[in-house]
């Protein structure tokens, strides 16, 4: 609707502020699992296929082939999923209230990026209970780059009252190739967001699920504290470095074999494997500063090679379906 203002003196705001989301301020905040279920429902209602986590050890939701490989090529792709993410060097033996070597990311990929992506995203925050007239939500410049994936994009870290709760990125390149069209990627840090919503200072105090009848509530600590203790120890002290080095070499070789055999999805699995083994070797402290760059370059070559093989295997189909599309 186009309105012309006849009288400049009669200026007032006629648009309505965003409706307050919390109908009752004393409403119990969502449990960790309800937050996930709410996000699933929210994004499913916006056309996303709700996928399951990828069944391999990865450092971030971006490694899931549904992000990495599917952000390439012309086909629309709208998915949301939770991805357990492992960062061995972030382990603190369960003693730090904010740091974990295993945590969850909620990942949304919308390709092509819709014009109202920011509004859709803000709607999802409202859905899990963040009122934007009570909390200060900001888009602060943060350009994303993943040297191991040969990928970059522009976007922001989204702040809620000064805390980074989401990484918001428009992918420009993946595996060294232009994203055509560009995909929008939202990566929510679920534990941080939950700590914020539930107002707890220690991640292990999060309500994972609520009590139902006789069944007691479960805390995040109930589920993961022992996990953090044992895996921190294994990552830093126990993991056999010879096996890890050998595993890295094997994954590297297998990736190349799979690329040659034209099975890029299998090749990409091996790239992910190599990347995680490299992270474990880092945690074991056996990779020197000089070697580090070398290992990263090797992982990047595997990821790029897999992306290229994926493009090669799909190009014919893509161009047939989308005439005029070029790499």
């Amino acid at each position: 609707m186009r309105r012309r203002w006849a009288n400049a003196a009669a200026i007032f705001c006629t648009c309505e502020g965003i409706a307050a989301v919390a109908d009752g301020a004393d409403k119990t905040p969502l449990s960790f699992q309800d937050m996930i279920l709410t996000l699933h429902a929210y994004w499913a209602a916006r056309g996303c296929a709700i996928l399951q986590p990828y069944d391999m050890r990865v450092g971030a939701g971006t490694f899931h082939p549904s992000t990495t490989l599917r952000s390439l090529g012309p086909e629309p792709w709208n998915v949301a999923y939770v991805q357990p993410s492992r960062r061995p060097t972030d382990g603190r033996y369960g003693e730090n209230p904010n740091r974990l070597q295993h945590y969850y990311q909620y990942q949304v990929i919308l390709k092509p990026s819709p014009a109202d992506l920011q509004e859709q995203y803000l709607g999802s925050l409202a859905a899990i209970g963040i009122d934007p007239l009570l909390h200060d939500i900001r888009f602060v410049e943060d350009d994303w780059e993943s040297p191991t994936l040969g990928a970059w994009g522009l976007g922001w870290e989204v702040w809620c009252d000064g805390m980074e709760v989401t990484q918001f990125t428009y992918f420009q390149q993946m595996g060294g190739f232009d994203c055509k069209p560009v995909a929008g990627e939202l990566t929510y840090g679920l534990e941080r967001l939950a700590m914020y919503i539930q107002n707890v200072d220690n991640v292990y105090d999060l309500r994972f699920s609520d009590a139902v009848g006789d069944v007691a509530a479960v805390s995040y600590g109930d589920v993961f504290l022992e996990n953090e203790k044992q895996f921190s120890k294994w990552n830093f002290e126990v993991a056999d470095t010879e096996t890890l080095f050998a595993g890295f070499k094997a994954a590297e070789a297998e990736c190349q074999r799979a690329i040659e055999a034209n099975v890029p999805l299998a090749a990409y699995d091996q790239a992910i494997e190599a990347s995680h083994l490299f992270n474990l070797l880092q945690a074991r402290g056996v990779i020197s500063v000089q070697e580090r760059a070398n290992y990263m370059a090797r992982v990047r070559d595997l990821a790029k090679g897999s992306c290229k093989a994926w493009i090669d295997s799909q190009s014919e189909r893509w161009t047939a379906k989308y005439p005029g599309w070029t790499l």
């Binding site: 609707m1 203002w5 200060d136 900001r138 994009g153 005029g324």
Partner: protein
Amino acid sequence: MTDFLLELRSEEIPARMQAGARAELEKLFRAQLSAAGLETGDLTIWSTPRRLALIAKGLPEATAAVSEELKGPRSSAPPQALEGFLRKTGLTQDQLEDRDGVYFAVIDKPGRPTSRVLTDTIAHIVRHMPWPKSMRWGKDSASSESLRWVRPLSGIVAIFGEELVPCKIGGIEAGFATRGHRFHCPGEITIGSASDYTEKLRACHVIVDHEERQSIIRAGAAKVAADAGLTLVEDEGLVIENAGLTEWPVPLLGRFDEAFLEVPPEVIQLTARVNQKYFVVNGKDGKLANGFVCTANIDAVDSGAEIVAGNRKVLAARLSDARFFWEQDQKKTLAQHAEKLANITFHEKLGTVADKVERVAKLAEWLASEGIVPNCDPALARQAAELAKADLVTEMVGEFPELQGLMGGYYARAEGLPDAVADAIRDHYKPVGQGDDVPTAPVTVAVALADKLDTLLSFFLIHLGPTGSKDPFALRRAGLGIIGIILENSLRCDLEQVMTEGFRRAQAKPTNVEDLVASSVMFFFADRLKVQQKEAGVRHDLIDAVFGLAPEGDLVRLLARVKALQAFMATEDGTNLLAGYKRAANILKQAGEVSGTAAATPPTDADAVLLAALDAAQPAASAAVAEERFTDAMAALASLRAPIDAFFDGVMVNDPEPAIRKYRIDLLSRFTGAVHGVADFSKIEG
């Protein structure tokens, strides 16, 4: 005359790019209008995180009609010439004017409506805006030709007077509608003209004028601090950054746990500023207090209580990390930290940081024991140098590299090392630029000088000195630092000797540093000295005139001499003597080698007077130079002015008599030689 409004609305523009974007928008707009023949008078350019806005006041309705005249062939020229001219102008022969036998074509170009020009201008701006980084987005990005902008461009408002300027770029069509504040007024609002733009936006919780938002933050942050009995620590960079992150800035005061104040104040301030963009505050005692000011982008329904609580929590987590580093780092002594420096490469051809530290320690100790840095205990200089880089491997400096030096100083004091050592560790990177404090404490001077000399010479030795605009190891800055330290402290030494002998002693392996210093480093320093002294008004040609005699390694003496010369050159005697010198030098140059025997006695009185003057002035000048009485040396030169003027007035150098000519050439040669004893006047300009 009509006003024009342009608003380019987008998703959040990085704060640091907004000032540049405003400048580029103005440049592009002015250039496009000027190319179309339109004058742009007053331009107002504003930015918020979500929009760039431009208002051009008083544009004409159309460009002026122009009449262009083209001269053609003579009417008597062959017909081919005429045909060619008609083809070129697109006219027929009867449309040409015949003026005195020459054809002229008069082409009238009517004025173009300004609105049309603006349509093209907007498209040009959107397609050519030079963002530091730009991106593609949306379904159009399936093609490589899709529009690029800093973040997705979401709307264009373009109104000339009250009329829409029609334009469509990359699927975005200009209209009257924009949007207000993202949360307070997310709906569409309709703009009528340039005159109601700011007020309509203000009504919708958007202050479009970035300077107004800056003032609100500046004043508001000071006020919330003052209301709590605190004083804001001013930070103009933060004011601008927060204004670039908000459309409706609301400064809010929060407090953090007082226990965190045990962490050094610089760490707290840096954590708050860099990670969270908060201001910090001082208490009544002038020391950092447990408060912070964050800038929200909304008028929260609870007046910001939740926002402050959330921000406090984030800051507390950050400060806990900082305190953890602070405590963790102190579990080891600096000497223990320093052991790890053996694992860090300084440069692949220059060994580890530990190797560098050892060289610097030897050099600093030598500078002290030789008395080059006076009143400096060599043992303390060595100790400070050995520990100066240890903080590079601490957790805190790993997190905040800009705290290098400072943290080392804190840790040194905490473990009870002497103040002189702690100060030297803290300040040895100084001065980091022109205008930075120059160290004066002896131990600090020794370490700062040794560190910079080692860096400079080490990179020159592996042929990685600065070239052209490239100076990846900041050696020019190191050079300026060395000069600053020497002059500020009046360190009397021969820099050439310091570099050759001192550096050689510090090296593990023999080097060819002597050749290097003589062939390039001394000239590098002369160059740096010119840069360093430019601001003080010291003439670069006079530095060349003194340095040109022989590379002077005592910078204090060099500068005293240059300054005396500069004072002399400002006098009438000085300018006249320079004129006489140039004349003499010219004559000597033209004469070349003159053989034969000179006359035994002065041929005339003028010759005799100059000879006598030289006999008196030359020893006086050289004695004065030797005793560093440079003003006296200049006075001795000044005594030559009248005799040389009289000489040129009274005699002809190129006398037909060869013996006389030879005599006078020799006399002039002696005159220039006497002048050279003080400064090489051939290098002086003017």
